[in-house]
Amino acid sequence: MDAAFGDALIRLLPNLRRYALSLCRRPELADDLVQITVERAITHHAARDPAQRLEAWLFRILRNAFIDTTRRQRTEGTGVDVTDHPEILSTDDAPLIEARLMLAATRSAMTRLSPEQEEILTLVCIEGLSYAEAAQVLDVPKGTVMSRLSRARLALAALLGIN
């Protein structure tokens, strides 16, 4: 295992945490998922197909970790929902505030979608995975990614008043 792999893994920590949050919406659980992902990535580093982009491989590990965890817990958690803490607007720059409000509106709309829709939007539109890569992460056919994603986009557009 080389330092370049470590660097790449460290660089992707924020991306992993963002995807974890989109899955579980609870920061403390997201931290756990990221930690499990890092451990498994270190352990199974040698088994990775070098042709696959590291992001897609890591997201897949994280997703499996999430499924394991939910299976074990089953019960509804009472964790803090990140969306309960609105952003603090720290500037009086009007365009900047407007941009932040748009970001807040997008984030809030995301949490009103089904978890499945939020997840596919996170993978493709935020993390920039191709349809094929998202299909690998989710372990579904590419056609399923496309139909799920297009429904999610339409639902998001409706929530944001985009028509």
């Binding site: 080389d2 470590g6 660097d7 931290d31 930690q35 935020i126 993390e127 920039g128 986009r153």
Partner: protein, 253 residues
Amino acid sequence: MTIDDETLMALADGQLDPDQARDVQARLATDPAAQARLVLFRRTRARLEALRDDTPQAAPGDAALIARIRAATGGAAPRQGSTGPAPATAPPRPTAAPAMAPPQTGMRAANANRAPWMALAAGLGAVAVMAGLVLTDGRRDGSPLQTALAQLPAGEGTVLPDGTDLTVLASFRIGGDALCREVETLRDDSARLAVLCRAAPGQPFEERFAMDLPAGDDYRPASGDLEALDDWLTQVGAGPVLSPQEEALLLTP
């Protein structure tokens, strides 16, 4: 509408291969409803991409994780030039869809790119107004508007920080070297058509023509009946719409 949602979405996401993309773009030219749908997919993506750069970059638990990773990967100290966790670097974005090629040369060609509210405006009789209502705040060099005008090929668009959705419809020359860009803007349901021109590369684009367009959900085929714009183009001696190749030479990569 003759193009299904998933195909339009794939075009907006840059997921079609070049041949497919060309084919879809050719069919789009005569399908205002599909054009509107494409804008929807493009705008939802733009809204989500904005979140990419906005996520907190490091969390309290990261220091321990980073130490763990360093230990497992040979204990390398942070490399030169990297101090602590690198900022959230987005994975490479999928290649943007190629510019929508105008189906013919001449000023009329630009009309094929026009979004549906254009067609509605044509039906109602558009009213030309003086410039300066929406786009004036972006004159300064390096502003998001100026950057978009200098970079975006015709057929592509972006959402500016103030929420304005901007689509470049066409490029043409006017009086020698000056480059003009015909754009549509949509903000808070108010749509506008404008032409902004720069005297030379590096100079800011100034608004030279603008008209308000009534927006609505009601789509009609684009007839291109835009007398005010046509009159202005004739008056200033605008050249034909630039081909994507000609345009590319004038845009900032």
